[in-house]
Symmetry: C2
Subunit: 248 residues, 2 copies
């Protein structure tokens, strides 16, 4: 156990954690106003806010100015906002993100083939159709592309893997936003998505995995070409921890 006593922030976190674990607090629920809650916990409002801030940063709480503080609703997010920062910090390479995505999504596709339900197949079919319909509009196309992959993640029946995928892809899109796709590639992309859809619908897990891998490998090399001459990579960390505070 981590020290559950001292450290106000941990006191708050553990209090709320136990409320969640006991089921007393469920997604969408609202916690009492800060002043009231702080008084009830016998701590200052500032400390309460520290704890809530911690939970909010982890995606567990949702703080809305002027409205209240709620337990996060919607799909789980695992360190979604932190990945790009951690990436900058530890020098994650673009290919590493692609590799992670390729592995996750391939397995997700295989699982979707095994466990997907009719509703998922229908949604996938719908998105494929939309993709074909928007090959001339990269902006629109991208939306359906994202949705397609998201449906697969849902169909996999494993929310943890889905959340991990979401984390990676959103970080990837941050980098990708600049590289607008050329629409002549989109037809090809749509074809691949259709293949993936068919493999999943026919419950052919191996095929789904294979095609998904192929799709993402192609997507990566396509983007690599566009990027080419980009930022200088800093591989090894020439980190020399400075004890004196950095000049800001």
């Amino acid at each position: 156990m981590t020290k559950t006593d001292t450290h106000m922030t941990m006191r708050v976190v553990n209090h709320i954690r136990s409320l969640i674990e006991s089921g007393g607090l469920q997604p969408g629920d609202r916690i009492p106003p800060e002043r009231e809650f702080a008084h009830k916990l016998r701590i200052s409002r500032a400390s309460l806010r520290t704890g809530i801030g911690y939970l909010a940063a982890m995606g567990v709480m949702d703080v809305r100015h002027g409205v209240g503080t709620f337990v996060a609703d919607g799909p789980p997010e695992i360190g979604k906002s932190s990945l790009s920062l951690l990436g900058a910090l530890h020098g994650f390479q673009s290919w590493q993100m692609f590799e992670a995505r390729r592995i996750l999504e391939s397995e997700l596709a295989a699982l979707a083939a095994e466990r997907g339900r009719e509703q998922h197949f229908a949604a996938l079919s719908e998105e494929v159709a939309e993709m074909y319909a928007t090959v001339g509009n990269p902006m629109e196309y991208l939306i359906h592309d994202i949705r397609f992959h998201r449906v697969i993640a849902q169909a996999s029946g494993n929310p943890i893997l889905a959340a991990l995928m979401e984390t990676i892809t959103s970080a990837l899109y941050d980098e990708r936003r600049k590289t607008a796709e050329r629409s002549r590639d989109l037809k090809e992309s749509a074809d691949l998505h259709r293949e993936i859809y068919r493999a999943i619908r026919s419950r052919n897990a191996g095929e789904a995995r294979t095609v998904m891998t192929r799709h993402l490998t192609m997507a990566q090399s396509a983007q690599d070409l566009e990027a080419m001459a980009t930022q200088p990579k800093n591989d090894g960390h020439p980190r020399k921890a400075r004890k004196r505070p950095v000049e800001i």
Copy 2:
């Protein structure tokens, strides 16, 4: 872009983010004292602390009472502390965590077989030997077990996947701490680890993946047996968002 102006906390986060991305701040570096830094940014110390707290929650900063605030050093962690909380919140099932782990580690093993270096092989060999030496001591054994998997993650050459694995396994160990393993299973476990090691050393990616999958599948069913009659699962969320604050 998210609103980078208003919201003091985001101002702080973005300021530090840009410092990190520009290389002005590196792992291990120390940021100025709160009072000084706050004054320099023209914000109150409280707001600065909110922002720092946010970054600390994401694992980007490391705040040490009485010492100072540092940019996180050591291996990256992605939402490590949040997963168990998110799990309680979204009703993650134990088998889902195992599945995620199985997938990640299997691929990690395959990658390690392809990219591992001599130093990794040596470390793996060392840990296997230690495992055999401690089959009579589950506590000690576990340490080397964990190290073994961690070395594989490093050898994979993909820190992102390694960090994801670390997140899952640490959440898993939280649950597992109660179920002490019976030492008669450990010999069998050590044998499997040795097989994994051999597959990796001989650069047989497929074999490494297969054996790792087998190992983790066995580990899961072993633990399932021990657990058996546990906590009641709440599958579907009968979530009914309450607008009125919950009674605490």
